[in-house]
């Protein structure tokens, strides 16, 4: 067991190095120049070059990568070249809103998507099923930002039930926190609701078609007052016997 764990850890190291190289290299591939952003759009070429030198942006790639990697493995994420704020602080600042949005979105997606899929499968082929499938297609097709604008227009501007924007930390009260999260969570969750509903519907349909479900359904029907001995005599034999298996084919 120990050997297995050690092997896995050792195997992860080259992956981490590759990912680090890839992520660091993305900085070179993405457009834009931090020195230009810092110096401002009216800076002269000379000023921009001085900012670039001050930030060390002109140093060789491997030198910069080496310094960055060594700092990362020691837990030092450095400081933002723009604000000077430690990167770890910047991440922590965004952690609560991100987790909050994720939790509420998942809660909405599962609590809406699963029942939708179940209902659709239960009433497969009917108008409920068609509505759910159509809604799922819409959920996939409509861009999230369009859904967001529509929700903001309706609930924030027209009905004035919810705020347009902003985030309130949970320490400021549960209700303000939830009110600010509701609209963005609803917008983001539409795709997931659609996805979960479709998957649930498909899974449910597959399960509902299983023999044991049919058996359970029939057995429940036979216990009702309308079920007569003639119905009981026409009940197919159990699948457990070889003869019954051939009868079902």
């Amino acid at each position: 067991m120990t050997t297995f764990i050690l092997k896995r850890i050792l195997a992860a190291i080259p992956v981490m190095v590759f990912v680090a190289l890839f992520v660091f290299s993305l900085l070179y591939l993405t457009p834009g120049d931090p020195a230009l952003v810092i110096a401002g759009d009216r800076a002269t070429p000379d000023e921009i070059e001085r900012v670039r030198e001050a930030l060390g942006l002109g140093r060789p790639y491997l030198v910069r990568f080496g310094e960055w990697f060594l700092a990362i493995v020691q837990g030092d994420l450095g400081r933002s070249v723009f604000s000077g704020v430690p990167v770890s602080d910047l991440i922590l600042q965004r952690l609560e809103p991100t987790v909050s949005l994720m939790v509420v979105t998942l809660a909405i997606a599962t609590s809406v998507g699963v029942p939708m899929g179940v209902f659709a499968a239960w009433r497969a082929g009917g108008w409920v099923d068609r509505i759910v499938v159509s809604a799922a297609v819409l959920g996939f097709s409509v861009p999230v930002f369009v859904t967001g604008y529509a929700l903001a227009w309706l609930f924030a501007r027209e009905l004035q039930w919810l705020p347009v924007q902003g985030y309130q930390p949970v320490s400021g009260g549960f209700v303000p926190w939830f009110r600010h999260l509701l609209l963005p969570s609803l917008a983001v969750s539409t795709v997931y609701v659609a996805l979960i509903a479709r998957i649930t519907r498909s899974a449910m349909l597959e399960v509902l078609g299983q023999d044991y479900i049919r058996t359970a359904t029939l057995q429940r029907a036979c216990r009702s007052a309308a079920c007569s001995t003639s119905t009981r005599s026409r009940t197919p034999p159990s699948r457990s016997s070889p003869s019954s298996a051939s009868a079902w084919r």
Partner: protein, 530 residues
């Protein structure tokens, strides 16, 4: 009874926790404002971005400020005296100036700030070239001495922006190179920056500084008393314009700096909002050609370009159909400023496509690609380019439009290669008009004949020599004569194609009162009506 009391107390506590507003008890009046962009850097010396100057005006103070008549007035200074030969200025600080950490503002702080600022700012660099020497005479008085007489000191110390001379603590100013941002934002302005609540990309908070001693005079432009009536100002960063407009209409913010032109009718129809430009200085748009590569290395091609730009057409798209928001103007100096001058520009208008074609032929144009850089995320510049592009094609230019975000465009314009090899031929830009009020200010006046010239690399040693003479001019008339000559040379060489003057309105709640008509929004003097 006890159980009932405990239950009641519990419900009250729960209610307080559930519905608590952490800011309710902190301040009496709060203004929530969305600026045109997020200030990524908080140091006005390091960057020339206008939104950073807005931030700086809240937390820092200036020695001299311009009043509504554009005259320099003492701000942190009690006054100044000038030696008879015009070379030496003795300046005295006002009483009661205090930094946000409680320390007094002294001449060492001022001198360190001037030294740091003068290494970056064009006016400061000129002062250094004039041999500027700074000496602290005591804790409140200091002297500024030049090798030659010039009133550039007052112009430079009192300039409005990019970059204004903001006074910082000696601790920051002396130890931080001008290419690095100061780590602490501690000024002596009417508001203090609440760094504990700073959320890059989301929020910036300023609280009224109780220790600020405003001048007694009424506020006038950037001068006069900076009375902070609003207790707390929150900058709510919202990159999405539609969300910002919705938030303004829902009163979640009370002011929005630059609403998009297409949404102005929505805001203007709201009786609870005011939509208007602040003041009449506005912005000045232009096209910048690349002098290194064809076709715009030929003056005939630049003249053709000028004849294709109809300022009315461009401005009505960029600044809206309301003609009160823009003004046709062919001056290379700020329209409405003391140096406004259209001399030599009669041949640039009206639009004449046939003449443009003739000029293009005279330039020997062979169909080389004209790479037009377009910042798709900048509404005004995008509008400039979108109107100009079909006009260029109409005259026979082979236009290659390269759309990118603004930052990428800024990066690419420093590329000196040919347009087909990563370079460019033309890009749109704008400046605040007050940045074009003298030949030292706006970037396009940088015409040095080396790689330090402004992108586009137009070179005019004659203009550079005239700029040096302008600095030493002894009278307004002498200065006017120099700027007129500069205008003539620029009209002949066309280092930029002027697009005219325009104003982007700010939208704010009717409850916000007293906003000053400054080109950069400042919030002293403003108040929130009950």
């Amino acid at each position: 009874m006890r159980t009932c009391f405990e239950a009641t107390f519990g419900f009250a506590l729960a209610g307080a926790l559930l519905f608590a507003d952490p800011h309710a008890a902190l301040a009496d009046t709060i203004l929530k404002y969305t600026p045109s962009a997020e200030p990524r850097i908080l140091d006005p010396v390091v960057t020339t971005a206008a939104v950073v100057q807005e931030h700086a005006y809240l937390v820092y103070d200036t020695l001299i400020s311009l009043d509504a008549d554009q005259r320099p007035q003492p701000q942190m200074l009690e006054g100044w005296s000038v030696s008879q030969d015009g070379r030496a200025y003795t300046m005295t600080l006002r009483d009661g100036l205090t930094f946000h950490d409680g320390s007094p503002v002294e001449t060492n702080d001022v001198i360190a700030s001037i030294k740091r600022w003068s290494q970056r700012d064009p006016h400061g660099v000129r002062l250094n070239a004039l041999g500027m020497r700074l000496e602290a005479l005591d804790a409140k008085r200091f002297s500024v001495t030049l090798d030659q007489p010039s009133d550039l000191v007052l112009t430079a110390f009192g300039k409005m922006s990019a970059s204004a001379l903001f006074v910082m603590r000696e601790e920051e100013a002396a130890s931080t190179p001008p290419t690095e941002s100061v780590r602490q934002v501690i000024g002596s302005g009417p508001y203090r920056f609440v760094s504990a609540e700073y959320r890059p990309g989301a929020r910036m908070v300023y609280e009224k500084f109780a220790g600020y001693a405003p001048r007694k005079e009424p506020a006038s432009f950037f001068a006069g008393g900076k009375v902070a009536n609003i207790d707390r100002i929150e900058w709510v960063i919202m990159p999405d314009a539609t969300t910002a407009v919705s938030a303004l209409e829902a009163n979640e913010i009370q002011a929005y700096e630059s609403p998009p032109i297409d949404l102005l009718p929505v805001l203007q129809s709201n009786p609870e909002l005011v939509v208007r430009p602040l003041g009449n200085l506005g912005q000045f748009g232009y096209l910048r050609p690349n002098f290194l590569h064809p076709p715009f290395d030929k003056v005939e091609a630049r003249q053709a370009l000028a004849l294709l730009v109809d300022q009315t057409e461009v401005l009505s798209v960029a600044a809206g159909a309301d003609p009160d928001n823009w003004q046709v103007c062919y001056s290379f100096f700020s329209c409405g400023g003391v140096n406004e001058n259209s001399a030599g520009t009669d041949g640039l208008h009206p639009r004449n496509v046939e003449k443009a074609k003739e000029l293009l032929a005279q330039a020997g144009y062979k169909g080389e690609p004209v790479t037009l850089l377009v910042p798709g995320d900048n509404v005004v510049l995008n509008a400039f380019a979108s109107v100009v592009e079909p006009r260029l094609k109409e005259a026979g230019f082979n236009v290659d439009v390269q759309v990118s975000d603004f930052s990428t465009m800024i990066a690419r314009r420093s590329n000196r290669n040919a347009p087909g090899s990563g370079g460019w031929s033309l890009f749109p830009m704008w400046n605040y008009t007050f940045e074009a009020d003298n030949p030292l200010h706006a970037a396009y006046f940088n015409m040095t004949c080396n790689e330090k010239a402004f992108f586009g690399w137009y070179c005019s040693q004659e203009i550079e020599d005239l700029k040096a003479k302008w600095v030493l001019a002894k009278s307004p008339d002498e200065r006017k004569a120099i700027t007129s000559r500069i205008q003539e040379i620029m009209a002949a060489d066309l280092p930029i194609i002027p697009i005219g003057k325009f104003s982007v309105p700010i939208a704010f709640s009717t409850k916000v009162d007293g906003l000053l008509d400054t080109p950069i929004p400042v919030f002293w003097n403003a108040r929130i009506a009950d």
